[in-house]
């Protein structure tokens, strides 16, 4: 998670708390803004992360939440044909049939630097966001911005409101109509800027809460995705990665260009990793895997025996997991460039498939979805890719790990 300016966000609610007639002991009327250390109204603090898998059937939009602690599954609603799902801390944002559905996953972690707090709550729908031509959904753990590709603005929502069960636009950040995105970053926003064709982004700028530009345009042609790391946010551009970070209130951007080996390879789209780590990975065309060490600002092309369809970095300096087109899961050492383990886990994956498996990683296990057989595999990546558990699910076209 990024560095976050948390306190200021609580203040407007404090004022409403004074105006409200809320009685002591009434949870519904109590202000959620004033909470002693670690306590969150309506939530249960837990001794460990309440991790689970949110799985979605792409065609029908039916969704389910599997607890990885109890193995119980709950129905979390149906949304119609799903275009995208973006996870944002406690919430998942499901874009389907023109609406963005806000789903409370009921599981989340708050990082206090030297320690973490883990929470659970009842999962369920919070409401829907209606933004014309809803495109990229991006958040920083405190706010989330939904970009309107047709109108060229982003509607900004606060987690704090969502925590109170309210879906209300709190700010609007304006760009121009394009396939863009606005990424909240503390009380600032990274805003994409359209290129000449008016469709693809060509760069970004950083603006403050008053919409003033604090970091002028930085080149990022073909901006396609972003990923948070502990260093900052990493944008996937056609010519490399753009690292945007804040340090003591000052924003800076640094391009990490692709190395020479990238010639002839398509640019990466989404860089994946274990949340919180500073290593990222993505398929590298037919050649293998790209590994990006964000701390060292280095790209490494890791060759694999077969082309890969999905890749994600464990972030321990020792392992990148990748799924080959032959259905084998591989663990590659990014420092040595060697294959350290390989296990044949899925059927071969023809490139024409609608839904591709996804890899999600936490600090002890990885989860590999198998949409073809509606299941998910729990992988012990430190023990030669041993399958620890297998979960049969209603569907696993889209799979996210929640509670981290």
């Amino acid at each position: 998670m990024p560095k976050l300016a948390t306190l200021l966000l609580g203040l407007p609610l404090l004022m409403t708390a004074c105006a409200a007639p809320g009685g002591a002991g009434d949870a519904g009327a109590a202000s959620p803004s004033a909470i002693p250390h670690g306590y969150i109204a309506g939530a249960q603090e837990q001794p460990e992360p309440q991790i689970g898998l949110l799985t979605v059937d792409q065609k029908s939009g039916t969704s389910h939440l599997l607890s990885l602690l109890t193995e119980a599954t709950v129905d979390t609603g149906a949304f119609g044909r799903v275009d995208a799902v973006e996870q944002e801390g406690r919430y998942a944002f499901v874009t389907a049939e023109g609406l963005v559905h806000v789903l409370d996953t009921g599981a989340w972690t708050v990082d206090h630097g030297d320690h973490k707090h883990y929470y659970s709550a009842e999962p369920g729908s919070v409401g829907t966001i209606s933004v014309p031509g809803a495109g990229a959904v991006a958040g920083d753990g405190m706010s989330v911005a939904v970009f309107s590709t047709s109108e060229g603005y982003a509607s900004v929502y606060r987690h704090e409101d969502l925590d109170a069960g309210i879906v209300a636009e709190k700010a609007r950040t304006t760009s121009t109509p394009h396939q863009g995105r606005v990424i909240p970053y503390g009380d600032h926003f990274i805003v994409s800027i359209a290129g000449q064709d008016g469709t693809a982004p060509m760069g970004i700028e950083v603006r403050d809460a008053d919409n003033q530009v604090v970091l002028p345009q930085q080149s990022c042609p073909g901006l396609s995705a972003h990923t948070w790391t502990r260093v900052g946010v990493v944008l996937s551009c056609a010519d490399g990665a753009l690292l945007v970070r804040e340090n003591d209130g000052a924003f800076a951007a640094e391009k990490i260009p692709y190395p020479a080996e990238a010639a002839g390879l398509p640019p990466v789209t989404k860089l994946e990793h274990r949340p919180g780590s500073n290593e990222l990975a993505a398929p590298a065309g037919e050649k293998g895997i790209w590994h990006l060490n964000v701390s060292k600002k280095t790209w490494t092309l890791l060759a694999t025996p077969v082309p890969v369809v999905a890749a994600s970095a464990v972030g321990d300096g020792k392992r990148v997991l990748a799924l080959g087109v032959d259905g084998s899961l591989m663990s590659v050492d990014p420092a040595k460039g060697t294959l350290s383990a390989r296990a044949q886990l899925l059927e071969p994956l023809p490139p024409t498939r609608d839904t591709m498996p996804q890899i999600r990683i936490d600090s002890s296990r990885a989860y590999l979805s198998d949409p073809g057989r509606s299941r998910a595999l729990e992988i012990d990546y430190k023990a030669d890719l041993r399958v620890a558990r297998t979960f049969d699910l209603p569907a696993s076209d889209i799979m996210l790990e929640v509670g981290l």
Partner: protein, 308 residues
């Protein structure tokens, strides 16, 4: 990270405090002292006696499902004669209320201003940073300093409180905390010096370690998903820590302590006790840890018995 941001934003919170002046409807008949945490609340009640009403924002055993500060509590904060908080960013969620009250002229006392804090380091972007460790209560000698400062704060700021009565209370209570301290020393002395090691996933025992000569060995306790289908590699780090330390107990919050002990025995061939401790909050009624003194005694007994 959050803590640093919190400090930077205090100024903004103070400015906005002006907007709160509309909620001062509830004037208390008795002088009131508002305390944030239940640990400091218990200490303050011992010092105040019947000289003022002590309002603790986070009562022990508070059900997180229903916990939140009501409008009345927020107003009481604004009308308090004195607000006592821990300091070092412990109560992030109430800090802005505290600062807003300060902007309204309510005297504020941070317990941690009474002594030199222990630092801890953290690392959120590859550049190690140091911050003050807020969990001072695990060292009773620092609690003595805090209690003395709180007593002085009450005498100075709480109108109508009888200074002599507060000083008498303080002398008695400080005596009890000092007694606790020497009792803890005697208790821990029965543990071999080489075994004064706390393998733990708690982050609150830095002060206790400094005061009583323990090593705190930060451990990652295998999660529920790991315990569901473990392999020996899942436990390598923890079992290595246990073997290196040469102890037979870990002090950990685990949702499945029995399962963890069983897995440790199966996978590592070690019979290890998994001992829970009271950490950030007093225990519920009947737990033996419903007061600061009781909490410290419970933890001391558990540590001593597990390591002796």
């Amino acid at each position: 990270m959050k803590r640093r941001a919190a400090v930077k934003l205090i100024g903004a919170a103070m400015i906005l405090g002006v907007a709160l002046s509309g909620c001062s409807a509830l004037a208390a008949d008795r002088p009131t002292v508002v305390v944030t945490t239940n640990i400091l609340g218990d200490v303050t009640r011992n010092l105040v006696g019947d000289q003022a009403e002590v309002i603790v924002l986070m009562e022990s055993g508070a059900d997180p499902h229903s916990f939140g500060i009501s409008a009345q509590q927020a107003a009481k904060l604004e009308n308090a004669d004195l607000i006592i908080h821990n300091g070092a960013g412990l109560e992030e969620g109430v800090l802005h209320h505290v600062e807003a009250a300060a902007a309204e002229g309510v005297p504020i006392l941070a317990a941690m201003d009474a002594f030199e804090p222990v630092k801890f380091t953290y690392d959120d972007d590859g550049e190690g940073k140091a911050a003050d460790d807020p969990h001072f209560w695990t060292d009773p000698s620092r609690m003595v300093r805090a209690a003395e400062a709180i007593a002085e704060g009450i005498v100075r700021h709480v109108k109508g409180a009888d200074a002599e009565a507060v000083h008498l209370n303080a002398a008695r209570y400080v005596g009890e905390v000092k007694e606790l301290e020497s009792w803890m020393e005697d208790s821990f002395a029965t543990i071999e010096p080489g075994k004064r090691k706390l393998i733990t996933n708690h982050h609150v025992f830095g002060y206790l370690a400094q005061r009583f000569g323990f090593d705190v060995i930060g451990a990652v306790i295998p999660s529920g998903t790991t315990l569901a289908s473990p392999s020996s590699s899942d436990l390598d780090e923890l079992t290595a820590q246990i073997q290196t330390a040469g102890v037979v107990a870990i002090f950990a919050d685990s949702s499945q302590p029995e399962r963890l002990a069983k897995v440790l025995a199966e996978e590592a061939g070690q019979d290890i006790a998994v001992v829970p401790l009271f950490t950030e909050s007093l225990g519920a009624a009947g737990s033996g840890a419903e007061t600061y003194l009781g909490m410290m005694r419970s933890n001391t007994e558990r540590i001593t018995s597990a390591l002796s």
